[in-house]
Subunit: 197 residues, 2 copies
């Protein structure tokens, strides 16, 4: 009963991650209630984000400049690199205000069955950075799933020859989480990673 | 740490209903991973939905034609009108395949404190329809909240002179719902609306 243009718009919203058919419908109806100016501004924001946002030539993070603001920041520690799968993973780290080093965005994780082989990842530049600069530590901050663990293992082997300290962020019970409801894998990791007090 | 164009895009998504900051960020990052063709198609869908979708001159439903497909449908009963607040409320009724009449979209509900007075609603055309056509029943299908009930009361008074049957859809325990967890207002409505078996 929705009109054709409306159906098309619902389909477009439905394609976005985490937007089901119902939410897509609600959003599309909302668009119809927006003014033309608002819609133009939204459409422009979509296009110009894609147009202007490129990858930082150093770390692979999203950036509107050749080199991103984090890589350009003189006050950040140059000798520590935190390796993440994805640009969006940088946000929670930055929010903590506890990490003062720089990042490296792999832009994915190893998943050979789905065609993500090492050549698909932003690895060459990581090696260059570790080889050329005075990097003392590479912190692996990959998601603790099968592909993330595989990637961490691969990176550990790859970086071994550089005599750089390689660490991995801890897996365990999340803060505020509930041991009662934690899965066995998490409990096992929390046990493995136990620290003497 | 997100770039400026990305921040703007996140803001745009964040303005949509039900999209919080976190979802908006996820969606914006997803846009950056889409191809330019996909983004152009999305932007076009936004604009052309707004451009092409107008209000049906009879019932006020969204339509790409002067008169919507439901109002044009010769096989639907002409003598029953189901009054809804919003175009999107038509969808669940149509899904049931049980209602064969036509609709009338008020485009809101009375809420004087927020400036929604009777003149803001699509009422004049409803009166015209009831006055000019052979309408035998007007079914009020407004949301069972304060404004919806007020609007239903107002419409009942407004339509009284036309000697048309006025009914209101039932409120009560939803199918599959749980009496144990139902609120008192719903229980009261369910009791009030009890039917002899």
């Amino acid at each position: 009963m929705a009109t054709k243009s409306l159906e098309i718009l619902i389909d477009e919203f439905n394609r976005l991650p985490g937007i089901g058919r119902k939410s897509a419908t609600r959003l599309a109806f909302h668009i119809l209630e927006m003014s033309e100016t608002e819609i133009d501004r939204f459409a422009l924001a979509l296009k110009s984000a894609k147009e202007k946002v490129k990858r930082c030539s150093v770390c692979g993070n999203f950036s509107e400049e050749e080199v991103c603001s984090i890589c350009r920041d003189e006050f950040r520690e140059k000798d520590t690199i935190c390796v993440v799968e994805d640009s969006r993973d940088i946000i929670p780290f930055e929010k903590t205000n506890r990490f003062k080093g720089k990042y490296h965005v792999l832009n994915g994780k190893l998943d050979p069955l789905n065609g993500i082989t090492p050549d698909k990842l932003n690895l060459k530049k990581l090696l260059e950075r570790v080889a050329n600069n005075e990097i003392s530590e590479v912190i692996l901050a990959l998601n603790p799933d099968l592909e993330g663990e595989t990637t961490a293992l691969y990176l550990t082997r790859l970086l071994k020859p550089f005599e750089v300290k390689i660490s991995k962020i801890a897996s365990g019970i999340p803060m505020g989480g509930n041991i009662e409801f934690a899965d066995t894998a998490t409990i096992s990791k929390a046990l493995e990673g136990r620290q003497e007090l």
